[in-house]
């Protein structure tokens, strides 16, 4: 049974690899959908499903519009950046954030089902943290919004737990050997946010200017926050 299953998985992986190669060769954004179990035109299928649910009174179109607007325009990494900037300028807030992230984040008005329990992990000169969800796509929605495609993808999820330094290098982040790397695997019940190091040369910046330096990638842990002279926009 085990062998059979492994053979099947190996076959699946080869198929994925072949699709990826074909994908690259044709310069397409998404893999070839030849073997998928859903119809190739999701637009039509989604329209039909939505019409049906609206017709049955099970969903309200305005409520759907509002949800889309919230996640496209209101909830995103700017929230997390404000949490990080507050922690940088207010030591008491930072202490609360590291002790009980869920409450400290809620203090700034950010909470939802997808971030019920939060843990903030702090980067220092000697420790670098990075987050992943190897099993699914868990991500701290209230502070970062919805995850990017790469975060949900097989290459990131499979590799960051066995070769974090290699993965970080792929993102352009080369860590010195003496920096310990910690990888945090998220679950639906506990989600992580990285508190990046405050960059040098930012003493004169206020909280808002600091927040503008903080990127989504830095809060996932695949980048550092760059000082203003290196491209940040205070």
């Amino acid at each position: 049974m085990t062998t059979k299953r492994r053979d099947f998985l190996t076959g699946s992986l080869s198929a994925a690899g072949a699709a990826m190669t074909a994908n690259l060769a044709h310069g397409q954004e998404h893999p070839d959908h030849e073997h998928q179990s859903v119809p190739s035109d999701p637009t039509l299928r989604v329209k039909a499903l939505e019409s049906l649910l609206v017709e049955k009174g099970l969903v309200d179109r305005n409520a759907l519009d509002a949800l889309v607007d919230t996640y496209e325009n209101k909830i995103g990494p700017r929230n997390g950046a404000r949490v990080v900037a507050r922690a940088w300028v207010d030591p008491a807030y930072k202490a609360r954030l590291l002790a009980d992230a869920t409450s400290a984040i809620a203090e700034l008005g950010y909470s939802s089902k997808q971030g019920d329990r939060m843990l903030v992990v702090e980067n220092t000169k000697k420790v670098h943290n990075v987050i992943v969800c190897t099993l699914c796509s868990c991500y701290p929605w209230p502070v970062l919004g919805l995850p990017p495609v790469w975060y949900k993808s097989a290459p990131y999820r499979s590799r960051v737990v066995i070769d974090p330094r290699g993965v970080l290098r792929e993102f352009g982040l080369e860590l010195p050997e003496d920096v310990e790397v910690r990888v945090w695997d998220s679950t639906a019940e506990l989600r992580y946010l990285v508190l990046p190091e405050r960059p040098a040369g930012t003493q004169s910046l206020n909280e808002e200017q600091l927040a503008a330096l903080v990127t989504r990638d830095a809060m996932v842990g695949v980048a550092r926050v760059a000082p203003p002279e290196a491209g940040g926009k205070p």
Binding site: L9, G11, S12, L13, A16, G17, A19, M20, E29, P31, D32, H33, H35, Q36, S37, V38, P42, T43, R45, V46, L49, E50, L52, L53, K56, L58, V59, D60, A63, L64, D65, L67, V68, Y71, E72, K113, V132, T134, L135, C136, S137, G145, L146, P148, V149, W150, K152, A154, P155, Y156, R157, S158, R159, V161, I162, V167, E170, F171, D185, A188
Partner: protein, 89 residues
């Protein structure tokens, strides 16, 4: 259960495909699936655990090949069908 979704530690999945200035959704239909999925939480018959289970029982090859929101659509449509929600009349 060590299904294909348990990706941690698997090898040879290829390079990470990073997209600069990535939009939240790549097509309007993705945003509609996402919103219907969230709104359906109010029916109290469907939650995150049910979704994860539905996604984890997708055929392994589909799990690796089909785009993320197409998987959502597939899982959500199957759930709606099971509940008789997807039928007219």
């Amino acid at each position: 259960m060590n299904g294909v979704h348990d990706l941690g530690g698997m090898q040879d999945m290829g390079p990470i495909q990073y997209e600069r200035n990535e939009p939240v959704f790549h097509a309007p239909w993705e945003s509609r699936v996402f919103a219907m999925f969230l709104a359906a939480g109010a029916w109290r018959k469907w939650n995150l655990d049910a979704f994860r289970h539905a996604r984890e029982v997708l055929p392994p090859a589909d799990y690796l090949l089909v785009s993320y929101y197409e998987q959502w659509l597939s899982c959500f449509a199957r759930f709606a069908g099971q509940e008789g929600i997807g039928q007219r009349g």
